[in-house]
């Protein structure tokens, strides 16, 4: 169902963003900017141990501090917590406490909440809460948790694995046994996270007279937070309003229900006062859900020509102690098992997934969820095949990639690729970047003793997947549709209320671009609202590269329905046929008869205020709410290919990224400027994953990287200019768009690891098997390459 305007004015244009002026003038409204009379400030007392028994919590000194109103501890709220149970058989469930009870299970877990009339006093008083701990053996790494005789993170569990899942195709073992060549390798991606510049923040108010709770929180998923709060607090949803105002970056970190949100709500109910908690950066690095810590053990069987015969991967992910709402603890392993075959012809496949419970911080979403690790493993394996067979890495991809005629393709990982131009993306990238010349240049530099490397990676990305995908994932809430409600005002302006959110993606602009053309109105006459559950329709929120497709599609469908109604009214007034009514530049007219015209605002006024002038049977309203789930619900796929050129300094470990080029096909682009901004930003985060970012724990499970001087994010001198070209192959969704918010972040790890490995080749062969490529690690690879080369 591709619906395209015959003469689009706004769809597809590089329109300036509607949201920019308020951000540029300091008038954005983030949670920490809200003020309420009589606000009480919250600070959390957090565990200095990764795993310990809580013997006692002494609060009297804190309570005696002038200005302190209350201190809550785990025993106060022992009966509330966050649970998220997967329907996969054998899933071992956990309950994330709001404040830890008798056991703390990660460094930074909250054990008490201090409330004071001043933020500084609250922080002082938090230091006056004395907790007596009895340390327990921490299970830090996956191997610790899986070791024979390891203590259990949760006493009632059989072991420390949330659920064990395995898929083996019928002919896998035979193909492996019969294959002429097999490569086996372990791959690791370090724990890191989205780390938005705005930390988390919550303001909660409670009105006892109405028994009504309002929670302002910096979240990507306001309605799901409302449902999660209702479940955790045992309240009805009509008594809860969640408002997510401007959000200073999400990237998945703000797509979980957090205990602090529940705690602030609970404290507001208990104290009948507004509660405010603004997270500090240390708390954020300690406790805002981490991501990405994957360990893969991969086996690939291939023939003499480098064609894949069988592929098997065991996926282990270090999940921390609790299953998170709404994703459960199975998201990363499940997605990896699905997408590891990638854009390749894989005849036989085996995958197993082990989300492992440990004493690290809980694990949630981060842009690209699991795909950066899956892409890393599969692409790195193909690079090994290339080296073993003496082939160019590009050639190995060409021999294994799915071809245009293979689409739609049911992958052996169980996904349905609706369409794909990954081959076309790769070939355009190769031609555009003069790949052959790059190889010549590389030879020249190698002759001069310089270590230049090239990485090239194609990938396919599932986007805007809805019910059919999430049903398979066994999550308790199946994320399907999104809804956009369109209202025309009596003066002819359009208000779009959407169930998604926007935290940098520019959806305030692109949803307007989706709706404007049908009604012939300008973007300045459209207001888009998000985030307030009392105002916007129910829906899941913004994650998984879905919002433009789903809420945008819904907005487009609703705009067409509004246009139909306006056309019927105009036709009645003009005594013309409805199909002859045209909408342009804020005017409504009869095609070919420019004298019969009126302003859109006049027509809207008539519908609302002159009911006697509208056709009998038409309702005097201009409000349409439309839901869209991008059938069949298995997702529409975006194709891309990335290429990087690096130069490595084997004496310092420094990796200079000399070029980074992307070709991407995300279908019809609503706004190419925004698409390019998303790609560039995604690549920058991917470069962080590849080169810099790592949550380092010591062997006792203490997080060592608790400032931004230890946890390094890319700066303007770390990120090169990303060159981008587009292919536009319409999808079958409304308006032919595909999701693309995450894509940029998926490939950089695989690309840059390949480039560094390639660069080091003159020193000797080495397998770059772990990210990030800090200078220290690059030096180790260089040393290993030299000793292998001897």
């Amino acid at each position: 169902m591709t619906i395209r305007e015959t003469n689009p004015r706004h769809f597809g244009s590089r329109a300036a963003r509607s949201e920019d002026p308020r951000f540029l003038t300091g008038q954005g409204r983030y949670v920490a900017d809200l003020t309420n009379v009589g606000t009480v400030h919250a600070r959390f007392v957090r565990s200095p141990f990764a795993h310990a028994k809580v013997i006692s919590v002494e609060t009297s000194e804190a309570l005696a501090t002038p200005g302190v109103l209350a201190v809550f501890t785990g025993s106060d709220w022992a009966d509330i917590g966050i649970t998220c149970v997967s329907s996969y058989p054998g899933f071992q469930s956990s309950r994330m406490p709001i404040l830890a009870g008798d056991t703390v299970r990660y460094n930074g877990e909250a054990v008490a909440m201090v409330l004071a009339d001043d933020e500084y006093v609250a922080e002082d008083a938090a230091r006056m809460v004395f907790v007596d701990y009895e340390p327990l053996q921490p299970l830090v790494d996956i191997a610790d948790a899986l070791a024979d005789g390891a203590p259990r993170i949760h006493e009632d569990w059989e072991d420390n694995v949330f659920v064990k899942r395995r898929f083996v195709s019928d002919g896998f073992q035979d193909a492996l046994d019969a294959a002429p060549h097999v490569v086996t390798q372990k791959w690791e991606m370090a724990r890191h996270s989205g780390t938005p510049i705005e930390c988390r923040a919550v303001v909660a108010t409670y009105e006892p007279g109405r028994d009504h709770l309002t929670v302002w929180t910096s979240t990507q998923i306001p309605h799901l937070i409302k449902s999660g709060l209702a479940a955790a607090l045992g309240r009805s949803e009509d008594g809860i309003r969640v408002v997510s105002p401007d959000v200073g970056g999400g990237f998945g970190v703000k797509a979980q229900l957090y205990p602090e949100e529940v705690a602030c709500a609970q404290a507001a109910i208990a104290l009948h006062k507004p509660i405010r908690w603004v997270e500090d950066r240390r708390e954020h690095l300690l406790t805002a859900h981490h991501s990405r810590e994957h360990m893969h053990e991969a086996t690939m069987a291939y023939d003499d020509d480098g064609r894949i015969l069988a592929y098997g991967v065991e996926v282990r992910v270090n999940m921390g102690p609790y299953s998170v709402f709404p994703w459960t603890a199975t998201m990363d392993t499940g997605m990896a098992m699905g997408i590891l075959p990638g854009p390749y012809r894989v005849g036989e496949y085996s995958a197993s997934g082990f989300p492992v419970a440990t004493n690290k911080a809980p694990f949630g979403a981060y842009r690209g969820v699991s795909r950066p690790a899956a892409c890393f493993t599969t692409e790195r394996m193909l690079d090994q095949v290339a080296r073993e067979r003496g082939l160019d890495p590009l050639e190995v991809r060409r021999r294994n990639l799915l071809q245009s005629e293979d689409f739609p393709h049911r992958s052996i990982g169980g996904l349905v690729y609706d369409s794909g131009t990954v081959r076309e993306c790769l070939e355009l990238l190769v031609e555009w970047t003069n790949y052959e010349d790059l190889r010549v240049d590389q030879e020249r530099k190698r002759a001069d003793g310089r270590l230049m490397g090239i990485g090239v990676v194609p990938f396919i990305e599932q986007t805007a997947h809805t019910s059919q995908e999430f049903l398979q994932r066994g999550v308790p809430i199946v994320f399907g549709y999104e809804t956009s409600k369109l209202r025309l005002t009596p003066d002819g302006r359009l208000i779009i209320s959407a169930s998604i959110h926007s935290h940098g993606q520019g959806l305030e602009t692109t949803l307007a671009q989706m709706a404007a053309d049908a009604l012939g109105i300008g973007l300045a006459d459209i207001r888009v609202e998000f985030g307030d559950t009392d105002q916007v329709p129910y829906g899941s929120g913004t994650f998984a590269s879905r919002s433009a497709v789903l809420a945008g599609g819904a907005a487009r469908l609703a705009s067409l329905e509004l246009r139909d109604k306006l056309a019927r009214v105009a036709a009645y007034i003009f005594e013309a046929a409805a199909e002859d009514i045209v909408f342009t530049d804020g005017h409504v007219s009869v095609r070919g008869t420019p004298t019969r015209a009126m302003q859109l605002s006049e027509l809207c006024r008539i519908v609302y205020q002159r009911p006697e002038q509208i056709p009998p049977g038409e309702t005097p309203s201009l409000e349409v709410s439309t839901t869209y789930d991008a059938p069949p619900g298995t997702g529409t796929y975006t194709s891309a290919a990335h290429l990087a050129v690096v130069e490595v300094d084997a004496e310092t470990g420094r990796v200079q990224i000399d070029d980074y080029a992307v070709v991407e096909d995300c279908g019809r682009m609503i706004n190419p400027m925004i698409v390019e901004g998303q790609i560039t930003g995604g690549v920058a985060q991917g470069i962080g994953s590849a080169m810099l970012e790592e949550f380092v724990y010591d062997d006792q499970g203490n997080l060592m990287t608790t400032t931004l001087m230890d946890y390094l994010m890319p700066t303007a001198t770390d990120v090169p200019r990303v060159r981008i070209r587009h292919i536009e192959t319409p999808s079958d969704t409304v308006a032919g768009v595909r999701g693309m918010g995450e894509g940029g972040a998926i490939a950089p790890g695989a690309v840059l690891a390949a480039a560094v490995e390639d660069a080091l080749l003159p020193l000797g062969p080495v397998v770059v098997d772990r990210l990030p490529l800090s200078p220290e690690r690059v030096l180790r690879y260089a040393d290993r390459a030299r000793s292998n080369g001897r």
């Binding site: 300036a16 963003r17 949201e19 920019d20 002026p21 308020r22 951000f23 540029l24 003038t25 300091g26 008038q27 954005g28 409204r29 983030y30 920490a32 900017d33 003020t35 933020e119 500084y120 989205g194 780390t195 938005p196 510049i197 705005e198 930390c199 401007d246 959000v247 200073g248 970056g249 999400g250 990237f251 603004v278 500090d280 950066r281 935290h503 940098g504 993606q505 520019g506 400027m673 925004i674 390019e676 901004g677 560039t680 930003g681 995604g682 690549v683 920058a684 985060q685 400032t707 931004l708 001087m709 994010m713 700066t715 303007a716 001198t717 990120v719 200019r721 990303v722």
Partner: protein
Amino acid sequence: MVDVTLTINGTTVSRSTTPRRLLSDFIREDLGYTGTHVGCEHGYCGACTILVDGEPARACLMLAVQADGLQLETVESLAPSPDALHEIQQAFQDNHGLQCGFCTPGMLMTAKALLADNATPTEEEVREQIAGNLCRCTGYSQIVDAILSVGPVVRETP
């Protein structure tokens, strides 16, 4: 409590404050200029960058009492009128130099200071100068382009 008198965005204000109050909290919560954002409170991310006597400074690394007698400029000072943007702001919009908007005020103030110091910076100089401001959304190139695109006239009369 300590009395503090300072000038912010051209207005002189006097307040009584605690000696330990951070300038960032003072600006945001006591004076109501919430355009200055706080991202790390340890002087690394640059979101709270303001101009103190014309020089960029981290509001989270100063105490309010240290600003006594000084001239402060925050992002709210840039736009010439409520319905117009400063050229640097306009350049950020034109070049898509912002996404979520959280780092933007600090980035704009850093940009203003760097253009005041160097009217015709190279790309490398711009990257060096803004390397103390973290942006998690854009990947920086569009911010660099925005700063480079600001006309020389504006650069010379900041």
